[in-house]
Symmetry: C2
Subunit: 256 residues, 2 copies
């Protein structure tokens, strides 16, 4: 089951995101008791509200772009200050073309424009950066939410911080997990026999990414419903991390 | 809602897959009436049963490997006949390393080992190839399933043929759509205003891929439940195609 929780108020730096999410969830559960929080639930929270609550927000009027950003922005009709921020958030530039910067962020994520986003930020000239440490953001929510929701801290309960990423070779964005807590991020079935008894060699399922994608289907893009409850997902109760388990060191990457 | 339908019998070439799926679904619905087929339902069918039913199955004992396949297989402890098949199914080799061939298949999919799979094939020395035209496979199921299920051909009803693909930059496989019928594969929100009234520039959501990922969470890998019912997904009733809408021509690809 994937259900978007009611919209949150516009989030500001310092807001108690766990409390706001718990309030939205419990109000939904009062309307529909099937939404009452249960052990095993996973909450998928889009990056933008986490970034806002954590103050990972930049006023573009404070940014002085370097010449490279000015030239690239002029050529492709972009905002030079935003290009400057993308360069600052990037550890390694993979490509700059058609107005888009593909880079590896300081976290290790490879994505377009370093995940910097000007849509749904609540004000002109304001952009969000990715959270500084999305696994830690997920862990902080996971530490407080169960108790706020009437569950116990010992109950299995997962939190994913999600964002929409483009991919090579296929059009369209899909939601992936930037951070996770309380669940298995990679389900390693290597060594498990398949239905014929043959050992599977390379089946390592990116559970957290699949849960993020499933949640996106319920969230919509324009509706300000940044939190989705996923019930019945596998792997809850595990101890995965996106940075440790999912982000791939460059030298391991056969697909590049 | 994502629910795996009961296991199908071992599929052989020529089996009426639509009839077998309908039978499994209706038997599940007799046990649990919430599973009764409804307009708007999407069925996600893993590639392997489609390949088997369509005869996209190869007996490795019939394959004569070329020298390149023999050398690569010897170096990495692989089956030279299977490497040979991978090379035959590839339009363009991107990389051959650590026993894995990354290539673009004749369909345009970039994946490991051309999607050829020796697990869960039902017999030794038997491997499955990807279906020849997965959009057409989906369309054939979509043409017959609604009526077999007691729905009308005018009801919105979607079919996705799925497979598990690795990705660059992130560990783990996720399920993606190889073929689709009866739904929007790419949900193009470009030009739609966001919640602040700002026009979103690059939000094209790969709905069919996200649905495939959501379905994988319900299916498990070893349990022989190759068909998952997804209820409540967006985009059903659309007319998407994976080959036309999702597969990206090389020259468009900023991520490479």
């Amino acid at each position: 089951m994937c259900v978007a929780l009611p919209a949150l108020p516009e989030i500001q730096e310092g807001d108690d995101l766990a409390a706001l999410i718990a309030e939205a969830w419990l109000s939904a559960a009062r309307e529909d008791e099937t939404l009452t929080p249960l052990p095993g639930d996973v909450l998928v929270v889009t990056q933008k509200v986490v970034s806002k609550a954590e103050g990972c927000v930049v006023d573009l009027t404070t940014i002085e772009p370097r010449q490279e950003a000015i030239d690239f922005a002029a050529r492709w009709d972009r905002d030079a200050r935003q290009v400057e921020l993308v360069l600052r958030e990037s550890a390694q530039i993979l490509r700059m073309e058609r107005g888009i910067v593909i880079s590896r962020t300081h976290h290790g994520f490879v994505c377009a424009n370093a995940g910097i986003d000007a849509s749904n930020t609540g004000a002109k000239n304001i952009v969000t950066l990715l959270p500084r440490d999305p696994d830690a953001s997920a862990a902080r929510l996971k530490a407080r939410l169960p108790v706020l929701l009437g569950l116990s801290n010992d109950d299995p309960f997962g939190v994913i911080i999600s964002d929409s990423f483009g991919r090579p070779w296929r059009f369209g964005i899909v939601d992936v997990a930037l951070g996770a807590a309380g669940l298995t991020a990679l389900d390693d079935l290597r060594g498990t026999p398949d239905a014929d008894g043959r050992v599977m060699h390379s089946t390592v399922v990116a559970l957290a990414d699949e849960i993020a994608s499933a949640a996106e289907l319920a969230s919509g893009k324009t509706s300000r419903q940044p939190v989705v409850l996923v019930r019945g997902a596998p792997g809850v109760g595990g101890t995965g991390s996106i940075t440790t388990d999912v982000v791939m060191p460059e030298e391991m990457d056969l697909f590049r």
